[in-house]
């Protein structure tokens, strides 16, 4: 049986002020994998390489045995064909589309956006499951943080991804809401049994979702495995 995640992401970034070298490797069979580390450690870069949004200089990305990218072999499946659900840190909802149109975005083919009243079974299902139905005509700027997060989640799930990538999904929320949505996401993941990679710098997220935790710092993997007891303080 092939590993769920097999990632070797290497990339050199050069800015005027600083130089950053990313070299993150991990292989895991965990259904829920957490990339844990301080901000600026290279977690988001790694996730973007997995999603095909950033091209690696070297390395590979394999998911369930399927090669999505392999620099040496010249394989690079474009992001649009990787069928991965991605929830961005600030959710990246389309500001010109209402909640319904945002959720339906990935199902709508062609060069035009879905009409404001689009009807689609799969869309309706997720609008209800994530309690978005009453908000369908609202625009992103009219939503609270939690509603935005659920819209982004619904938008990713409607497209029937084979795995879910979440970049700091709780960072923009206040602490109380954070705990609740953490439970919601955990329940949803258990129900769908969808492989998930979650990025966080919050240990509570790591404990909740980390069947396996990969610690990343300064572009490298600095530790892994289950969270150790001595850091298990809150």
């Amino acid at each position: 049986m092939a590993l769920t995640w097999d990632v070797d992401a290497r990339r050199r970034l050069e800015h005027a002020q600083r130089r950053f070298e990313l070299c993150v490797r991990f292989a895991s069979d965990a259904r829920r994998l957490v990339l844990f580390g301080p901000s600026g450690a290279g977690k988001s870069q790694t996730l973007k390489i997995v999603a095909g949004l950033t091209r690696a200089d070297a390395g590979h990305v394999r998911l369930g045995g399927e090669t999505l990218a392999d620099v040496a072999a010249g394989i690079d499946v474009p992001a649009r064909e990787r069928r991965l659900g991605y929830v961005f840190q600030d959710y990246a909802l389309f500001p010109h589309l209402n909640v319904l149109q945002n959720v339906a975005f990935g199902l709508q083919r062609g060069w035009r956006n879905a009409p404001r009243e689009v009807r689609h079974d799969e869309v309706q299902r997720w609008m209800h499951a994530l309690e978005l139905a009453p908000l369908s005509r609202h625009y992103p700027e009219q939503l609270s943080g939690g509603q935005r997060q659920r819209t982004a989640l619904a938008r990713a799930l409607v497209a029937r991804p084979r795995a879910l990538l979440l970049d700091e999904p709780f960072a923009a929320l206040d602490p109380e809401l954070r705990a609740r949505l953490r439970d919601e996401l955990a329940d949803l993941q258990a129900e769908l049994d969808l492989p998930l990679v979650l990025i966080t710098h919050d240990e509570r997220d790591a404990r909740r979702f980390g069947d396996e935790v990969i610690e990343i710092d300064a572009g490298r993997v600095t530790g892994g495995g289950a969270l150790r007891e001595d850091r298990d303080r809150s």
Partner: protein
């Protein structure tokens, strides 16, 4: 006074075509300059902005050299298609297009740069190809800025004088646009004709500026 409508119609035709051409060219160039990185990008931007700062007569002279009967492009067009651009309304369109071009591509570039690239990435992850990303995310979020620039370009093309006169001349009913007609009327001492033409031009320009002002992005596009 009857004769005043002819230059107005011609002006609107020339400015309309120039604006349409600029919309396509300006959006294309603005997008490439905003989203692609290549050596000489800022130099290209500066070169394309030149029509905004150079005297229109100088531009007109460059155009004459290029598309005139003996110019490289003009000679080629004449030899292969029998097309002559000098002293035609199409020549006036080319002059107006070049003079107004910076207004469109500058505002298009700024509008595209203001679109969060992460939104385009989100669309790609959801399965969209590059053309669909452009038409469903990038363009809808940038169109207000582009439209504002396009209206300014229309106003600029309407008032074009120097380059048009150099390239298209002043043939009544054929290439004599409003601004050229005003000049001719004043030269000929026809003050009443000049007054009327000036009033028509002013009203057109004010209307366009008001429309442009309403479209400048101030709110999130698309929100009710």
């Amino acid at each position: 006074m009857e004769g005043a409508w002819i230059p107005l119609a011609l002006t609107l035709k020339v400015a309309g075509w120039a604006t349409l051409l600029n919309l396509v060219l300006g959006v294309g160039v603005g997008f490439v300059l905003a989203r692609r990185r290549f050596p000489g990008r800022e130099l290209l931007d500066a070169l394309l902005t030149l029509p905004m700062v150079m005297p229109p007569t100088v531009l007109g002279y460059y155009l004459l050299v290029l598309i005139g009967r003996r110019g490289p492009l003009g000679a080629w067009l004449h030899a292969h298609f029998g097309v002559q651009l000098i002293f035609t309304w199409q020549g006036a369109v080319i002059a107006a297009t070049i003079v107004a071009f910076p207004l469109v591509f500058k505002s298009a570039r700024a509008a595209f740069e203001a679109v969060d690239p992460q939104l385009e990435q989100a669309a790609r992850v959801l399965g969209l190809g590059e053309a669909a990303v452009f038409f469903r995310v990038t363009l809808p979020l940038a169109w207000r800025g582009i439209l504002a620039g396009t209206l300014l370009a229309f106003a600029r093309a309407t008032g074009e004088f120097g380059a048009t006169l150099m390239v298209a001349g002043s043939i009544p009913g054929k290439t004599q646009t409003l601004s050229v007609a005003v000049y001719e009327a004043v030269q000929a001492g026809q003050d009443d004709v000049a007054n009327f033409l000036v009033a028509v031009t002013s009203v057109t320009c004010v209307a366009v500026l008001l429309a442009a002002g309403r479209l400048v992005p101030g709110r999130v596009a698309g929100a009710p």
